[in-house]
Chain length 414, copies 2
Amino acid sequence: MKKIAVLGFGTVGSGVVELFFKNRRMIEQKAGQPLELAYILDLREFPDSPYADKFVKTIDPILADPDVIVVAECMGGVDFPFSCLSRCLEKGISVATSNKELIAAKGAELLASAKAHSCNCFFEASVGGAIPIIRPIHRCLAGNDISDIYGILNGTTNFILNQMLTAQMNFEDALKMAQELGYAERDPSADVDGHDACRKICILSSLAFGSHVYPENVPTIGIRDISLEDAAQADVLDGAIKLIAFVKRLADGRILPAVMPMFVPHDNMLSRVDGVFNCVEVCADAIDKAYFCGRGAGKFPTASAVMGDIIEAVKHDKTVFSQYWEDSGTQDFLAPLSELVCGMFIRFEQPVGADAISKAYAAFAQKEAVSADISASDIACVVPAMTAAQRDALLEAFRASGLQIAHSMPVLPA
Amino acid sequence: MKKIAVLGFGTVGSGVVELFFKNRRMIEQKAGQPLELAYILDLREFPDSPYADKFVKTIDPILADPDVIVVAECMGGVDFPFSCLSRCLEKGISVATSNKELIAAKGAELLASAKAHSCNCFFEASVGGAIPIIRPIHRCLAGNDISDIYGILNGTTNFILNQMLTAQMNFEDALKMAQELGYAERDPSADVDGHDACRKICILSSLAFGSHVYPENVPTIGIRDISLEDAAQADVLDGAIKLIAFVKRLADGRILPAVMPMFVPHDNMLSRVDGVFNCVEVCADAIDKAYFCGRGAGKFPTASAVMGDIIEAVKHDKTVFSQYWEDSGTQDFLAPLSELVCGMFIRFEQPVGADAISKAYAAFAQKEAVSADISASDIACVVPAMTAAQRDALLEAFRASGLQIAHSMPVLPA
């Protein structure tokens, strides 16, 4: 009987183990063979666990067992899991990981090793938790030329932004509530500063465009500066502020990945994604656009994605899937944020009247020959797409007309 | 070089051909080998087509060519495509079809034949057009126990219902507009009477629960009876009327599939799916719920799904995937609509006042020991979940209190 090993018995790892035993009959049927969950690697002691007999403290017994067919990595961090998974792949054992930090940092190396050793490195759980997104992008949309991906990829920040709007909480109170509910870590930086979403858009960018995009090269702005007033005025102007992780291919073939709070108009489904849900919009030539939404984190949602990979790895243990990208040796294919053409949401320091805003904008629009299509409230406005230089010039023009700017941010590109 | 054949050069078939030549380099890269689109089967003449040299009038030359590895069927109808695809499968040639009528009627037979001849029968394009849904349900969610599926699976009816609400059109005018825009056929019955959505929920039910569900056994109600007033009052009560195709597993394991207009509360993403978009909500034990949205029809969106299947068939020409169901020889596993527990949207003939409605409901709720949680406008209300017998009794109770009922329909079950 083929064996499965799980590395890490934290939230996700224990979810994988519990899900396996809950749905074992069905999982074995889908995998086409009986399976044994034989090893759990964790340095901690779990003497009262029903799985106490399965715990090991090193990867060695797993590597030494010729029946192990797939290893699920749910530990987090980079160096130790990288070492473990590299050793698995070198022995031809397929791996499935939920570790976005690992894939964002070492994906190209792991994928190359899987290819070299005729096994698979799967990572569906690393982006969007429960949401099937890696396999759909790579396989179902394989006939498409993908141009853009926009995602709400961090449930914690989405919950916080949602609370600010619906419960009139400021950022600090909403963050505190997220921490109390267990959605945010005690050190919330990975979430609220956008690093988690950045890793995920790196993975999606690498997958969609074929070259490894490293997190340190992706402009990343978190949500600490978003105020209650921003959230409220966005709503007045028929949109919502969301932390958007995106990648957009430019006309010359370079791609522009970034993470930042954006004004999302209500006619885009992303504006309606509430609470801890995640959602990914994929734009491509044949499909136009498709949305994938679901729980982006949590024990069983993430375990579901790991289990789908485990089943796939068992069924196709001889196949190397071309879910693949390489380190291209340069990051020259990345375009800087200054090349982003988009609209802008602008909130002013105090109410100045929609007429004053529109009048100041109209003069600018005529001078710069950009669209005059603006929507304005007494204290905020949304202006149409223009270059970054034009956006800077507009802010300057507003200031010159005596309008004091409190905050501005990009509008989700169309 | 391996060859592809396309059966039918209508909207979808011509989309597949054009998409192949547009994205050929990328498609061949994903498929891992060069490919030739060698044959197009269509009885009509296309002398001016750039593909004129590829047309054939029977399946025979396709079957006789040992290099043909996959056949894409985009003809529509049942008998002729069934005969063609059966002959392909018997020769070990994989097939990919966009034909929901065919799969809903003959899926079990085609899948059995594919299994017997070690090739694949794919049908991603048969449900939800561009939306990846067949493969995600079967593969990415393979570790889950699926309990319910709710879908907006017909873009034409969704467009009509949307027009009724946003443009204050009545059903006939909205239908006429859909026909003028090319969204609805001259004979709109397959769409507006729910048959198209019915075929699609049969396919999803069969896939998720493993036994073939035939369309003639699925209660199907279309949207002809929906009035402008229904749409407007649903909006007042914080929801939208949508044609929902669904399947729900009951506690005893039987499943309850149906197609009908339903009141969908605005807190469910399905209520926000506008125009010709489709959306599928999948509920399962590990993921909670996930949504898949996109263009449900059209030349290139549907061609995208066919092309994804073609690439998969080429890459895995030896593999038989377990994307599979059987004819269980009975339809006893289907539960009747009378077992559906759900809330109800009720619109009255004339304004009676929210108080009168709430008072009449409160008396009923106390007598039947159901939840007293009701939302009411002057002329309509939404009541909480109860059995079908209770829903009938409530309508009777309302009538007995002198409230004349214009229209009632189920609320999307939670």
